[in-house]
């Protein structure tokens, strides 16, 4: 840590709320440009020495994520249901945010993702729109993210990807057995497998060591700093400037505004639950697709009676999340898939939407193994397999090392009724309203998942699996969602969107919101690369605005 501390009573240039995938990037960009930055983070400041391979701590207990015991999440499928406590969403809650415990898949969105309304047309029951920006607008920032953070991949290997200005800074990770079987099968079927782009170092990079293949990526923090989280990449750079103070255990409850409707700072609970007010000339909210809209909805004022930056009423609406089914196969020989990073090969052949299918949507399929010993026995067997007894034991002990999974990442339509709101009845341990998630699939979301599932099964069979099964597609069985998108959507019209094309709030000139909440469409999931590209772009724009004197 740099040790710089700023006084709460003096306005810093920028206050960043949330030290995750987006916040870490923003803090680094602003501080290296010479601005004073305070970054507040709900969760603790953990380091690689604090992490372990403890399945209970990180997959059963909320070791690195929001804990429903202190921050309840309420869920209902639609507005007619009464919300009940159910961990419908999960987000990284520590310095580094979700970039610490994510699987590290790091795809760029396709050119088509930004113009799907124009390409596909209207979808009944959904609000499919074009983004106000194109792939070309974001490309330089994707490249910047890949080099700043350290991404491994093979340029040109995905024939469906848009043009890129530079190759990846690091070569791809080698294929493990799941990748080899997947590559053979998909080639046989005439498809185009390519090495997974991942935020994991295949070689030493910028003073960090390469991955040691321990296999504990998804849900775990990397013990050797090979996963390119903001915690080990851009946040240390920000702190080294001497202009960025990271305050962990700081839980923001309200953003304050002045009579002119400009933000003046944020009130937060410190680690002792004492209220602190930090003044700032401008604020970036990077708290994720659930906590960003929640904070705006909690920040009611005379000027913004329905929540900050919410004159449109769109804050919290259009929640989109990580759809896609899981298919599994068992093979003759050992794969030992618990070793090595989760995903080494994938396909984008079914990615683009095609009206000829009769529904909107498509998806990507990756070869992976996303189980650890206990999670495999708990939920890795076929839904109709015995759940206890001698045969159960026989199955989980003999299948663990001979199994692989194919996970689909499919479209998720923006629907007005799918939302993040404040629960009227339930409060968290700080006395703040609990998150209430209202979400159910659009018929086309489900159609896309079912269609892709037939492809997943076909690939497993072509790979020579002895036995193939799939897990339930029901929304409740697929919780929690980690990819929280769309709840402060980007657009040109202040009546139908929350932020402009540079992630600046339409209603408040010195307020920026950047994270998954900006997304107009959910593409085919794996949002982190796009969240971070948007963060670089928004920070670049804010630096310009600050230099023009628009923010002080």
């Amino acid at each position: 840590m740099s040790g710089v501390t700023f006084r709460t009573t003096e306005a810093v240039d920028f206050l960043v709320l949330g030290a995750g995938a987006a916040g870490g990037v923003v803090a680094k960009e602003l501080s290296t440009a010479g601005f004073n930055v305070v970054m507040l983070e709900q969760g603790p400041y953990l380091r690689e020495k604090d992490y372990s391979h403890d399945e209970i701590k990180y997959t059963i207990e909320a070791g690195l994520t929001n804990d429903p015991k202190v921050q309840p999440v309420m869920f209902r499928r639609n507005e007619n249901e009464k919300a009940r406590p159910l961990k419908a969403i999960e987000y990284g809650r520590q310095v580094g945010g979700g970039s610490v415990h994510f699987t590290a898949n790091y795809w760029r969105f396709h050119e088509s993702d930004f113009h799907e309304r124009s390409l596909f047309g209207e979808v009944a029951g959904a609000d499919l729109r074009d983004w106000p920006i194109s792939y070309a607008d974001l490309e330089p920032f994707y490249t910047k993210a890949e080099y700043d953070l350290g991404i491994s991949g093979l340029a040109g290997a995905n024939p469906f990807e848009g043009p890129r200005s530079k190759p990846y800074p690091l070569p791809p990770m080698p294929a493990k057995s799941s990748g080899v079987l997947f590559e053979r099968a998909t080639k046989k079927l005439g498809l185009h497998p390519f090495p997974a782009p991942v935020a994991i170092l295949s070689k030493p990079y910028q003073g960090r060591a390469a991955c040691v293949n321990c296999g504990f990526c998804e849900s775990f923090g990397c013990e050797v700093r090979a996963k390119s989280s903001t915690l080990v990449s851009v946040i240390p750079t920000a702190e080294k400037t001497g202009k960025c103070e990271v305050r962990p255990n700081s839980y923001v409850r309200k953003i304050e505004v002045d009579a002119a409707g400009r933000v003046t700072g944020a009130v937060y609970f410190d680690g002792n639950k004492r209220e602190v007010f930090q003044r700032a000339n401008a604020i970036f909210v990077c708290a994720n697709g659930a906590e960003t809209p929640k904070l705006l909805l909690m920040s009611k004022s005379k000027r913004f009676p329905d929540g900050l930056a919410n004159s449109s009423g769109v804050v919290g609406r259009y929640l989109m999340w990580d759809n896609g089914g899981l298919a599994q196969g068992v093979f003759e020989h050992p794969l030992n898939e618990y070793k090595g990073i989760q995903v080494t090969r994938l396909i984008h052949d079914h990615y683009e939407a095609d009206p000829k299918r009769g529904f909107y949507g498509g998806g990507a399929i990756d070869a992976r193994f996303q189980f650890y010993p206990a999670s495999f026995a708990l939920g890795g067997l076929a839904p109709d397999a015995p759940r206890w007894g001698g045969e159960f034991k026989e199955l989980f002990t003999t299948y663990f090392n001979r199994s692989m999974s194919l996970l689909a990442h499919t479209s998720s339509l923006a629907q007005w009724k799918n939302s993040v709101t404040l629960d009227p009845d339930t409060r968290d341990a700080w006395g703040l309203p609990a998150l209430r998630i209202t979400s159910d699939y659009h018929a086309d979301d489900l159609a896309a998942m079912k269609w892709i599932l037939t492809k997943q099964i076909e690939i497993l069979e072509a790979a020579g699996a002895q036995k193939v099964w799939s897990q339930s597609l029901d929304i409740v069985d697929n919780m929690p969602s980690r990819h929280l998108m769309g709840t402060c959507r980007m657009g040109t019209d202040p009546k139908t969107s929350v932020v402009n094309a540079h992630s600046r709030a339409h209603d408040v000139p010195n307020l920026f919101l950047v994270d998954g909440s900006n997304f107009v469409t959910a593409a085919r999931q794996q949002p982190t690369a796009t969240i971070q590209a948007l963060a670089y772009r928004a920070a670049d724009y804010a630096i310009g605005a600050a230099k023009r004197g628009e923010l002080s």
Binding site: D54, E55, I56, S177, V180, G215, H333, K339, W388
Partner: protein
Amino acid sequence: MAAWPEVLSAAPRFETLDAGEAAEIEAIAAQIIPSTGGPGAREAGVIYFIDRALSTFASDDREAYRAGMGEIHRRRKELFPGSTSIASLSSEKQITLIHAVEKSDFFELIRTHTILGFLASPSYGGNRGEVGWKQMGFEDLMAYQYPFGYYDAEEGAR
């Protein structure tokens, strides 16, 4: 004073459960993961895991255990009048009893705890001698080198 070998082999004491309750819970755990083909829940020390869980991360589940075990005993008496405990039932009768309760929330909880006790880190009191991991073929190391499995080795050899 006991001789060293005796001390080392003595069963750890329970923190939450009394010995009678522990024997009943263990009888169920031993049917969920039996000792067929290799060590099961009993040999892995799952009951010690559950005991410790109920005084640490799963302390909220104590009431569920009290009520859930009560319900299983009610079913036991219904199915096998005159029986005195789950542990003293024959294996066949234990299996019949578990089938009668396997759809309940409590069975889901005890199943989860049994699996965790068999396959979570031994530092939680179960998975003794890594017997759960060994039967799955999971080696607990910090780093691995390619190739990891049969198919990537085969590909590398081409």
